[in-house]
Symmetry: C2
Subunit: 190 residues, 2 copies
DNA sequence: ACTTCCACTTAAGATAGTTTAAGAAATCGT
DNA sequence: ACGATTTCTTAAACTATCTTAAGTGGAAGT
């Protein structure tokens, strides 16, 4: 199991001794995904939170009319799940699909709850992760409300240049909340 | 100082003994706001996180062109701050204004950091708050991307009926990301 | 090598939301 | 209780973004 990356992710916020590291790692399970495999499908139970070791994934919502809204991309060193459904143990609303061959480490809901009890420091780690996720989402809301699509696209390119190269245009369009056709016209006129 | 409400807010997630309660309360400072007073102004340092005892507040962003985007409302039993700026100790981007006469309890950044060290259980409390805030924002993003204004308005009314009654229409419009005029036409046709 | 499929582009017509302006209704200060 | 301000509504003209449709090029499958 590839564990260097996740341990360095965690050591950004808390420090663990050998026994704690061993216990933590014992809770993880590797999941390998080929391009276009689903890590999670809507309607299924969402039981795990996932750390991305390598590759790129996309979390998206499929509305009644079949239109897709991309909630987030996740590349190496990101955590991803359907948080509303993971937290409340209800069926997933969103899908998570591998855009490229990917490798993730999964931590099950029951195990993370045990982890919080056994090693309370992890509350801090995930408090900081949740705080950062909240901050990111809030800034995104702010941009969605106050900026036209073109400005949002430029910010996206600046903020996530790697992702912009790894994923198809139509996914970026659905992240920005516009159609692929309209993204195309935005791109035409620099 | 009114403390019943905040203690019951905290006891939803963690339990404190007498000494811990005493210490926690010693860190709080009451702030009374008249209607239209600002709890925080853009550009100023954002040093505190605020718990709303009573009243109603609105957090909003003012873009270059002077257009307002309402980030969130906060009524009794909500926590509010400019989280990006609070977390990173940079000048505030948003304003927080009292919509009605309000009373809040403030917890300073340095104090909350001390609190995390002295009573680590609070990491859990704020982990859950941050997680809920993240979930709320993510659902909002999803709605902003995949629904027209009218559907978003209906959801807003359903989710926050109290707020809908307490705040002016134009604020709701700026929360939804539309003009007050357009909100008016949406409301006309039930 | 050929076919099929999918991503991306372009363009025309349709719709959701904005802007401007004006009047009506509610609220505020004195 | 009054006038002054602010909020809400209505309507017309305008703009951003969507829908549909058609065409191009590249990737994948056989």
């Amino acid at each position: 199991m590839q564990t260097d990356s996740i341990l360095s992710n965690i050591s950004k916020h808390i420090s663990l001794d050998k026994a704690e590291i061993k216990y933590f790692l014992s809770l993880l399970r590797t999941r390998e995904l080929k391009k276009r495999d689903f890590l999670l499908r809507a309607e299924e139970p969402c039981t795990a939170i996932n750390y991305v070791n390598s590759g790129a994934l996309r979390a998206f919502y499929h509305d009644q009319s079949g239109k897709e809204a991309t909630i987030m991309f996740a590349v190496a060193d990101w955590w991803v799940t359907d948080m509303p459904c993971f937290a409340n143990q209800i069926p997933a609303m969103i899908n998570i699909e591998a855009i490229t061959k990917s490798s993730v480490l999964q931590l099950e809901k029951e195990d993370i709850e045990r982890l919080y009890i056994k090693i309370p420091k992890f509350e801090r780690h995930f408090r900081i992760l949740m705080q950062n996720a909240y901050i990111r989402e809030q800034l995104r809301t702010l941009q969605n409300l106050s900026m036209p699509a073109k400005a949002r696209y430029k910010i996206f390119l600046k903020k996530y240049p790697k992702i912009a190269q790894q994923v198809p245009q139509k996914n970026i369009a659905s992240y920005l909340g516009i159609t692929p056709e309209f993204l195309s016209t935005i791109r035409r006129v620099k």
